[in-house]
Symmetry: none
Subunit: 463 residues, 2 copies
């Protein structure tokens, strides 16, 4: 162990309440990237975190993009430090908080409440990703407090468009590839296995996110005058999208599974050994039965099988009571989680073919693509994984597990493609964190152990 | 023919310009029942028409309801008159004029413009229903001018909530059933076959309007963390509602067609002879192909076959861009147009069975019913139809056709149920009247012939 690490950990312990207060300050900024009215708040959230970094000796700025700005900051590390050069990545933007009426406290008034694992902070962005970013910033702050510098050379990249598919990130990485060069990307935007078992994520599903806009008649129609003869786009949309899966849960998009790479038998065996309890996993969200491919283990369905989920559906009259209208248009948001091997462009092409084969001539369809990124698989035997496993084992007193993640972190793929970097995905979320839902929260015990784990990792990497 | 009818028709001809001016005066009152700001205008429109009736010797008043007032007026007819007792029904309220920017003249500044059939008056309510009400009032006025009285005993009922679903009408009919007793209801709120071909509507479809609320997980979920294992209510809703029709357009609700009464071969033959042009009907709304049961003529699909149309659909994220959510709930508004024989309660029960057979245990469903009224079929051989056909044939020099109407006029069903009255549906609208749309209009030739037809009918009924 690095001889200074104990002092750093003691500093973190002493500074805990102030660290929580800092996190809550950031959470008060409603940096909802999807909503233009919050553009100013997004910039403010970026400025807020930049100030945290400059206080630790980082040199940086807000860098404008076509969308929300990117925070970039550099620290050379200790004079003559021989450690690696880390690129810390995070995002300051958050999901829209809707539906507001389901929050038990306002989403941008962070509130400490008691949970089964002790106190937790409830707010939009508590864990995704402000709380996870603040863990490594607090670790860097403690190192800075003890040593007057940070233990290794670091670049920080914190974007503001992760929740809307990072449209400006790839151009930014391309334009600034030289400046952003490093040895590895460190990202905390994933989860633990459970509150006592740390985890590193080595598989992430990709994402293709689309919007389907269907137009039939040239105007809204009276359902009495036209019903029975005029094509109804809502009926048609349900008819077509109702065929996305067959009765065995198999997705019907042409060529969808052709290139899927199955995990190794060893990987599947490790997952099987985790003791995943689908009844409990589903019971926590009020369900009793898993859906999907019956011949695949539940954890495989979450980590190594692709999906087709409708995320939104709308059209016609949606107010109170009744309106006897046949709408002119119907809309759906449909996204696909991809697994290693699948090509996002091929999935989009398959969707077009699926729709074309099922729509009559009178239906005009447009497909918008809001994001398309392939799945990621990180090598399980890299030195970064080895050091991170060591840091986590020291902190938790038990080995970290290598897990998959059903979600996507497209930046991981972008960093590999545009910067040539592998990613170390060390996250501290829990499955009940209500990510993207009302009452998102982050357990303060995870926040504390996460900051301590990052402090340990920095110490190990400094050598 | 009644010996006085010729003089009455001559009076109508001489009074035409004044009649148009009176109609325009009523149209200037913006009696929009849906908008509370126009409550005073609704009352003013009721008072205006009441004054027209009292000038003809009617005794009546505005009768308050929970909503807008109802105009009720009585006239005993000629001393010792032996004719029937008619209940004239109409409505003084109009649809909201929005979107205002699509009107070529202000909706409440009635304007005479030239159309393909000569001059027409353009204003909100021109045909629906102020213009159609003023036809029979002008007919009564001419009879009064010539004879000093009106030819038969009449009760007039003009409500102010037709455009918002007549919420106060049923309670009013129930509370005043004795006062409103008559031999037949006469309603002008329907259309002609075309500008030269008069029509009587003898079939109206009924309506069952429902809302389906589907709940799966207890909260919204992250589509990455849960997708592939957690039941998605939007996927499920499209899957289930996508099965409403089979590939031949046949509705799959159990027992849905069991009690359907097909029109008589004679009726079908009459419809076939109308020369309905589906390509033109659909072309006007930007469509080329009719949907529905391939083995049924297009006009049958509109008038004598039931439908299942989604009127609204919503759930999940419907804003700009993307949100990777699996919603907890999905919703649909689903309505059925019913035809004679179908029992609304049985259709609702069939919908429950249809859903129950297709929903897994983890899906909780609620079905709200916002309205359930059976179809109406008026006996084609009643004396009212016979006399009305005679009056129309005299006026137009060609026989009137008996047509269906795809829509519902709930008051017809209410009058049958609560007052025991059949309805005579003699209307003079045209398909291009833009009912409920911007630039609503009424052809003055229809207004003139409509008034003359009503005058003839009154003469025939007086014997």
């Amino acid at each position: 162990m690095n001889p200074r690490t104990d002092a750093v950990l003691a500093t973190l312990e002493a500074d805990q309440e102030a660290a929580q207060a800092r996190l809550m300050g950031w959470l008060r900024i409603p940096s909802v990237s999807a909503q233009p009215a919050h553009a100013g708040d997004c910039r403010a959230a970026g400025e807020w975190v930049l100030a945290q970094l400059t206080a630790l000796g980082f040199t940086g700025s807000l860098r404008d993009t076509a969308g929300h700005p990117v925070v970039v900051a550099h620290h050379p590390g200790p004079d003559g430090g021989k450690g690696p050069h880390l690129l810390f990545y995070g995002h300051y933007d958050v999901q829209p908080p809707d539906p507001l009426e389901l929050w038990t406290s306002p989403p941008f008034e962070p509130t400490i409440v008691q949970g089964p694992n002790g106190p937790q902070v409830r707010a939009r962005g508590a864990v995704d990703d402000k709380g996870q970013v603040m863990m490594w910033i607090e670790a860097l702050r403690a190192w800075h407090a003890v040593t007057g510098t940070i233990p290794v050379r670091c670049t920080v990249l914190i974007e503001g468009e992760e929740e809307i598919g990072s449209p400006s990130l790839d151009p930014f990485l391309e334009a600034n590839a030289a400046e952003l060069k490093a040895d590895v990307a460190v990202i905390s935007d994933t989860g633990m296995w459970d509150v006592n078992t740390p985890a590193l994520s080595t598989r992430l599903r990709g994402l293709v996110y689309t919007q389907i806009d269907l137009t039939c008649a040239s105007r809204d129609l009276h359902s009495g005058m036209y019903g029975g003869l005029a094509l109804n786009p809502l009926n048609l949309l349900t008819r077509v999208l109702g065929q996305l899966h067959d009765e065995n849960g198999v997705i019907q998009i042409p060529e969808f599974y052709d290139d899927v790479v199955d995990p190794s038998p060893a990987q599947k065996a490790e997952w099987a050994g985790l003791g995943f309890n689908p009844a409990q996993f589903l019971g926590e969200i009020g369900l009793t039965q898993g859906i999907g491919e019956a011949n695949r283990a539940p954890l495989e369905r979450l980590w190594s099988r692709p999906t087709a989920d409708l995320n939104g559906l709308w059209g016609g009259y949606t107010g109170d009571g009744s309106k006897t209208v046949i709408a002119s248009q119907a809309h759906a948001k449909l996204s696909f989680r991809l697994v290693p091997g699948q090509d996002p462009a091929k999935v989009v092409a398959g969707l077009h073919a699926f729709l074309a084969a099922r729509l009559p001539e009178d239906a005009k369809v447009e497909v918008q693509v809001f994001g398309a990124s392939p799945a990621i698989e990180v090598p399980a035997d890299s030195p970064w994984i080895t050091e991170a496993r060591g840091a986590l084992a020291e902190e938790y007193g038990r080995p970290a597990v290598l897990i998959g993640c059903g979600g996507s972190i497209p930046v991981v793929e972008s960093m590999r493609r545009l910067l040539g970097l592998d990613a170390l995905l060390m996250g501290f979320g829990l499955t009940d964190d209500q990510v993207h839902s009302p009452n998102e929260k982050f357990d303060l015990t995870c926040f504390r152990h996460g900051a301590r784990s990052h402090a340990r990792l920095l110490g190990r990497l400094a050598g």
